[in-house]
Chain length 283, copies 2
């Protein structure tokens, strides 16, 4: 993030060069890892599905007792200013809200709001065409409905991913799967139903859009998905803002379906790309 010194960021009321974007060490994110965030794409100068992201940002803030210092209109004005100043073709905008400068390092103070825009790296063509391999780990995020900044477990598992040559890790509890650290899970059962875990997951905006697209063509079920369901699925894929629809061809030692990305994932990816383009053009 420090290698892009020409970008601007918003820090606690001010737009300034990203290289000058600092928080005092008394901030509750540094002291206690306390904060929430959200992250949306900006394509050709237009935020994509912004109202969904703003509303989830407010929901996370509420779940963590953090008042958002700006109205939606004020947030949108800051977002527009950063987009204009930074002039990036394809980017991600991160909004972070921390517990603020805490006098005793534990109690919530006036939250600090950051907006950071960065060039965006989409999954490689290779990952998209070959699919990725994931492993599984028994874990559930503390407050699954909130997009907190706490990625302790996900980041700690990075070493294991590298050692095992896996691209990501799927969380489960006693065999009931939930989500990836930064993505949702969808599967296509042998009978063609598109299924996704209903509970203990972050309600992804891409998940929502992909489910809506899937409903036009396939039976769709939100409910309990087990590891066994995943292993036996015809197709498995993840959805996220940056990954869009990314096929998964192996979970632990189990090859999924034919071991190649499937038609459902491919079709949904293309429709999502079209939907995003339409949304970006419509703003």
């Amino acid at each position: 993030m420090q290698s892009t010194p020409d970008l601007y960021a918003y820090v606690c009321g001010e737009v300034l060069p990203l290289k000058n974007a600092f928080l005092h060490v008394s901030d509750l994110a540094i002291q206690r890892g306390y904060g929430i965030f959200d992250y949306f794409k900006v394509q050709h100068g237009q935020p994509v599905f912004l109202s969904d992201y703003l509303s989830r940002f407010r929901k996370s803030a509420e779940l963590m007792a953090l008042p958002v210092p700006l109205s939606d209109l004020e947030l949108q004005a800051v977002i527009r200013e950063l987009i204009q100043r930074n002039g990036l073709e394809l980017s991600g905008m991160k909004m972070i809200l921390t517990g603020g400068y805490s006098a005793n390092g534990y109690d919530i103070a006036t939250p600090n709001l950051l907006l950071l825009q960065q060039p965006l790296a989409l999954p490689s063509v290779d990952a998209q065409e070959q699919g990725i391999r994931v492993i599984t780990h028994e874990f559930m995020r503390e407050i699954p409905q909130a997009k907190t900044i706490n990625y302790t477990m996900g980041i700690r598992l990075n070493r294991q991913l590298q050692e095992q040559g896996a691209a990501d890790v799927l969380y489960h509890q006693q065999g009931v799967v939930s989500e990836f650290p930064r993505s949702n899970l969808l599967i296509v059962k042998q009978d063609g139903t598109v299924c996704t875990p209903a509970d203990n997951v972050l309600l992804g905006i891409t998940r929502k859009n992909v489910l809506a697209l899937a409903r036009k063509k396939y039976p769709v079920a939100e409910g309990v998905v087990t590891l066994e369901d995943v292993y036996q699925a015809k197709e498995v894929f993840m959805t996220s803002t940056t990954k869009r629809v990314l096929p998964i061809v192996q979970v632990d030692d189990q090859v999924i379906g034919t071991g190649r990305p499937g038609d459902v994932a491919r079709g949904l990816l293309n429709e999502l790309i079209a939907l995003e383009a339409k949304e970006a053009a419509a703003v």
Copy 2:
């Protein structure tokens, strides 16, 4: 923390005024709540039980794959410099190690090390003499053996504590208790045994010292402690660096023993204070 502008802090290799102690927003603590810390007392210019705290700091760092940039000798030199510059009578020193300035906001970079010294507030005489009331909550920290900066759950429960007039919250899983967000739990059973949870807890330095003091006088057991054990105990108390030995006289709706702090807790507190004084004098 910002109200003490004359203090000095150590930030990534530099000793500077605390008011100028900032981290860039790309730090993994801000981006992903990723970091560890430790915290020890300084009495009359002497760190108390420093080697225990340094070794736990290194253990937490190792569990989170964060290399500590300084040797123990170098850390001790920084600690001495801060103690000398800040000249506080009674204080706490916090060492924080974050995931560093991450280029992609997710992968661990070169860790950032902070040392922050602050005046210390011990429990009020009232809390010590009357004992405190606590509630319980089903939760377990993600990596109990590591002192990570993640206090999402503890801080989020603050509002509930205030509403219920409780001073702290005891974590349990299906009735098996573990710890408080920042303290360990000890109980005295009706038969006089001093018991404390053995697993899924942070191994407190004060816990260790108090258990050693208790072993001289009482049978001591580290093992499984249930909520029922706590409710039925003769005495309940918490131990921590700042709390030392703090009596608990009510857990949820259950009054403990006579509803007054007990002799075992009082005796151990006095012996701990003496041990700390001896340790501070011996350095």
